[in-house]
């Protein structure tokens, strides 16, 4: 009883910690977050997104088309709390916290073992990657929530014969598909696995037929929207064949059989990386820079032993349901494995579910095994505490200091400066580059500035496209080349800190934006002062 209370307390603390300092860590809204946040803000004011589309299903984001719930979930909180980081991330923190509760309920439904249910919730609560994902406005986190909810309701309906639960579970599965592209492949595979594994019950009851048909019908709008935008959606543009190395190999071996072999091998290789122990337990959370030794995986490192035990002993707790968990383990990295680019922990977020269930099973097994060996329990708890302490330090202290640049840090601060000084300038020209002379990245200040300054979305919807950027209202977002720039009075110029204007232009530094580690980020110049 005492142990259960302690576990419950820790889960409570971990949930509360998901809401603390949402505007500080992560240090800035990311590219994807601001894209969705701005579209949500624009829709809340005009029923149209930034590209002037009325209540879009798939909406135009920076890198293609985004999924619907990425904008419709944060919309309400943006309306309530205003255009702040907290408002954008709050729904994700709520859904992340609910996932912790529903995963416990799911385990309870699958095993009737309350201890195992608590341990599973505990594991997810202290999972570095789930903790991080819940503090981002992350579509994949919404997707994970709807999958867990759907599974819980499915098994509730199956075990207790509750018809409403069956229907709502399939609606939840649909919503997971509306949340993130990974679920476009994963959720149908989960649904098919459930139908196959529990066919004896499912095929006998009409309610399942109804739920499956409803599932299909609810997907129709999304399918239509996909067909309309099929050339721009990430599903088509991010397939593994677009990967630089794979593309090069395919170009060298155009034979269809060899092409098939290359793609198959690339998928296997990527799949291997996504299921590797070092990715899952050592660096998958990618909180700190790559070379930093203090990395964290999806779960804290000491749980690696429990995961291995869990793989071996899963049947002891899950009985016939263990086949479903193994299947989930196999299919959860599939969608991420068929996409191009580096390992992406957003795409592989669903792995948290099977790995968590298996690890929790291993934890309980080891805990029961070590009943009389107190030293094993103490050692385990000690290692766990130490690793969680490291994670907390890394997340709340070092992560904002070391990763701010990766988050386009500075655009929010520029907007906060511009709000009270807006009327002082005739034109505001913002360079789209950020970083430093070693490498300049291209940012999206054209989304950050209107969001934080509450600019009328109609002005953005009527934006003018320049040869090297975009312009609306008194803003221009384009690269600034001091040699050819015609400097005007009452104009404000915003550039990365090391792009220094010519002395002849007579520009004066009016404001500096610094990173959380006090390194310079942006300089604001004008002739007015």
């Amino acid at each position: 009883m005492f142990t259960k209370k302690i576990i419950l307390l820790i889960i409570f603390i971990a949930i509360v910690a998901r809401f603390i300092k949402l505007d500080y860590a992560p240090p800035h809204l990311t590219n994807d977050e601001i894209g969705a946040a701005y579209a949500a803000y624009s829709i809340s004011k005009t029923f149209k997104d930034g590209s002037n589309k009325f209540l879009p299903i798939l909406w135009q984001s920076h890198g293609g088309y985004g999924t619907p719930l990425a904008i419709y979930i944060p919309l309400t909180s943006i309306v309530i709390f205003g255009n702040t980081d907290f408002a954008v991330r709050f729904p994700s923190a709520i859904l992340g916290s609910l996932t912790i509760i529903f995963i416990g309920l799911l385990v309870m439904e699958l095993t009737k073992n309350s201890k195992l249910a608590l341990i599973t919730s505990f594991l997810l609560a202290v999972s570095p990657w789930h903790f991080s994902a819940s503090r981002w406005a992350l579509e994949s986190n919404y997707g994970l929530f709807f999958i867990v909810l759907g599974l819980y309701l499915f098994f509730l309906g199956l075990n207790k014969n509750k018809r409403w639960a069956v229907v709502v579970s399939f609606v939840s599965f649909t919503l997971s598909i509306y949340s993130y592209y990974t679920e476009w492949l994963l959720t149908p595979l989960i649904v098919l696995s459930l139908i196959f594994l529990y066919r004896k019950t499912i095929l006998k009851k009409k309610i399942y037929y109804f739920a499956i048909v409803l599932f299909g019908i609810l997907l129709i709008p999304l399918i239509f929207s996909f067909i309309q935008n099929r050339n721009s959606t990430r599903v088509t543009s991010e397939f593994i064949s677009k990967d630089i190395v794979v593309r090069k190999l395919i170009a060298e071996h155009p034979n269809p059989i060899e092409k098939g072999q290359i793609i198959t091998k690339a998928i296997f290789d990527k799949y291997s990386s996504y299921v590797s122990f070092d990715y899952l337990f050592f660096y998958g959370a990618k909180i700190l820079p790559k070379e930093n030794p203090y990395q964290f995986g999806f779960f804290l490192t000491p749980f690696i032993a429990a995961f291995i035990w869990g793989l071996y002993k899963l049947k002891n707790h899950y009985k016939e349901n263990s086949n479903f968990i193994y299947l989930l383990l196999i299919v959860s990295p599939l969608a991420a494995s068929i996409t191009e680019g580096e390992l992406n922990n957003w795409r592989s977020l669903p792995e948290l579910l099977p790995v968590g269930l298996i690890t929790a099973s291993g934890v309980l097994f080891i805990w029961d095994l070590a009943k009389k060996k107190l030293w094993i329990k103490r050692l385990g708890l000690g290692l766990l505490l130490i690793s969680f302490m490291y994670f907390f330090l890394a997340y709340f202290r070092h992560f904002p200091l070391e990763r701010a640049v990766d988050y386009q840090y500075g655009y929010k601060q520029i907007a906060l400066y511009l709000s009270p000084h807006y009327n002082e300038f005739e034109k505001i020209i913002i360079d789209q580059r950020f970083g430093d002379k070693n490498y300049y990245y291209i940012g999206v200040p054209s989304s950050y500035i209107p969001f934080y300054t509450y600019l009328d979305p109609v002005k953005v919807q009527n934006a003018r496209y320049l040869t090297n950027g975009i312009a609306f209202d008194k803003y221009e977002f384009r690269n600034i080349n001091w040699a050819s720039e015609k400097v005007e009075k009452n104009y404000l110029y915003v550039v990365p800190y090391d792009i220094i204007p010519n002395p002849e232009s007579n520009l004066k530094l009016v404001h500096e934006i610094k990173l959380p580690n006090w390194q310079p980020a942006f300089n604001l110049y004008s002739q007015t002062r």
Partner: protein, 269 residues
């Protein structure tokens, strides 16, 4: 069947690199690995007599580790491991044999990871504790923690982080990709079956295999750049043992289907 496997391995060796000496050495390594398995299991099981094992055993001749490896030194070193473990199985002086195996494995692992270059040149700059980037980050983490008293900072952020990196590298050693590059996808199936079987029927002698795998892994990750191919050559006798051990329990249809996939992957450009 063993002879068929050896012939298959030798043929593939000749096809892959056309060098007879390497072909013979690789085939010899496969032979000693299989022999080690026979010896090891004969002590308590009569697994070899099982009729299900033999046909599939032929396919062990296709294992890339025994057909593609072309570093004569490491193949010889791996043969040495087989001979030493065979010596352990037959001798009365078990403790001396274990000591010899341990020393041999550590030194072989140092060579495999480049920490020692032939003949006896120790590369201290390759030692994981001398990784400048890691050390830089440890210092940076300390600097960023100025709000803590110095002693606490030093306790929390210190070179013990290298141990964590080592553990991470060990975890990264046993990825599916490394395993199927060395043994083919199909052999991961009997490998897992073999491990499970031995875990179920736990026997003290299995400890030798586990300890050898751990010792090689730990020694290899002391180097900043782990050479996967060399490491798996050293691990080959022990991992192949589990593959052969599990072959008896696999579903033949699944095994053959996986073999087809393995061929597709292994022959990919």
């Amino acid at each position: 069947m063993v002879i068929a496997a050896l012939l298959l391995s030798f043929t593939l060796n000749i096809i892959n690199h056309g060098n007879i000496i390497i072909g013979i050495l690789n085939t010899l390594l496969l032979f000693f690995t299989i022999y080690f398995f026979f010896k090891f299991t004969n002590q308590k099981l009569s697994l070899i007599k099982s009729p299900h094992l033999t046909p599939l055993m032929v396919l062990t001749g296709t294992i890339p580790l025994f057909t593609r490896a072309n570093d004569i030194h490491f193949i010889c070193v791996a043969i040495g491991i087989c001979l030493l473990t065979l010596f352990y199985l037959t001798t009365k002086f078990k403790k001396i044999a274990i000591l010899m195996i341990a020393i041999y494995l550590i030194i072989a692992s140092f060579y495999a990871s480049g920490l020692i270059k032939t003949p006896f040149s120790y590369q201290s700059n390759l030692l994981i504790f001398n990784d400048d980037k890691t050390n830089l980050y440890i210092t940076q983490m300390k600097t960023e923690s100025m709000y803590m008293p110095y002693i606490i900072r030093s306790v929390i952020f210190n070179p013990s982080a290298h141990l964590y990196v080592m553990l991470s590298k060990i975890a990264g050693l046993f990825t599916l990709k490394n395993l199927y590059d060395a043994f083919l996808i199909v052999n991961i199936y009997p490998l897992i079956m073999g491990l499970t079987l031995d875990l179920k029927n736990w026997n003290k002698s299995i400890k030798l295999l586990i300890y050898c795998i751990l010792l090689i892994s730990l020694s290899v990750v002391l180097s900043r750049s782990v050479k996967i191919d060399n490491t798996f050559i050293l691990l080959s006798p022990f991992l192949t043992y589990f593959i052969l051990r599990g072959l008896n329990s696999v579903n033949k249809k699944i095994y053959l289907a996986l073999f087809v996939i393995s061929v597709v992957i292994a022959t990919s450009p």
